[in-house]
Subunit: 153 residues, 2 copies
DNA sequence: CGCCTTAGTTCAGATTATGGACGGACCATC
DNA sequence: GATGGTCCGTCCATAATCTGAACTAAGGCG
């Protein structure tokens, strides 16, 4: 299988990863959630080549994850903002960050602490079941082919 | 920044992605959660070169995400099983799959349906706050540097 | 013994990623 | 009006990575 064929697989994970599964894309998105919006800022924070930043931002814009919005004229300058589709990636980023906090934080503790504005407490993300509201364990989930299935996956 | 330097960044997202941020690694893990355990099975399902499968499996074993367990002697054959650390990636996979279901399922509906054994209902994953139990919105989260921080990130 | 299974390894060639220089539009200052 | 600065990219030669296909290895089967 080639990378470009991924998007055609009857698998939501494959389709998602065709967009965000790239080496740097998720780090760009992490920065988006931290409020970074400009090309130069992404480049400075990540320290990777401008080519890659440009290419990834373009892909994310094409996919509707980010929107390119002018923030000034003369010269026209754009910034990149999360769309609704992009904001929907928040659980993905939170889950990744939480996993890193749990297994790679070391003695110093986690680099970032998250506070829930609504309740005012520091927290970590918990994945729950939309039906019963209980926390989800990996073993509690059973999968079966859905209407969009061709093969399991 | 180089890919190998990622793991040293004071950022849980970067550290996690140094392990799982690879193009194919998350697809391998998806298959792990679907019960795939053997080299040949990964290769057949993903259709990518054996070299990459071998390399990724080795990395995941080195990182303690998968364990290589003998399932027979003479000849010794191994299978790859999720460790506790690997099972902890379940929310990441679920979040990615859910995002794909939501934005890429098309008219046919999602390829896979998830049922919660505990309550018996089909569900989708909801990320909630460990403190108050409410669903988390991207805008409801505030971050600040934690004890392990050197710079924000 | 020859052929099958499972799990890799090796290697040349194709594909991608990389950093660093460059381009273009505009502003500010001298 | 020349020089330098900001911001956002593009271009290109080189370096790293991925690919498929063949190969090794260790044993089973008939």
């Amino acid at each position: 299988m080639k990378w470009e064929e991924l998007a055609k697989e009857p698998c939501s994970a494959a389709r998602s990863l065709a967009v965000i599964g790239d080496r740097w894309t998720l780090l760009i998105l992490r920065d988006c959630f931290l409020g970074v919006r400009r090309f130069e800022a992404f480049q400075a924070r990540l320290g990777i080549s401008r080519t890659i930043i440009a290419e990834r931002l373009k892909l994310l814009v094409d996919e509707g994850v980010l929107a390119k919005v002018a923030y000034q004229d003369r010269p026209v300058r754009h910034e990149y903002r999360l769309t609704e589709k992009g904001l929907a990636l928040h659980p993905v980023i939170m889950a990744i960050v939480h996993w890193g906090d749990r297994f790679y934080a070391g003695e110093a503790g986690p680099p970032l602490i998250h506070r829930h504005r609504t309740c005012g407490h520091d927290f970590h993300p918990v994945m729950t079941c939309s039906a019963c509201g209980e926390a989800l364990g990996a073993r509690d989930v059973e999968t079966r082919p859905g209407s969009g299935a061709r093969t399991a996956g």
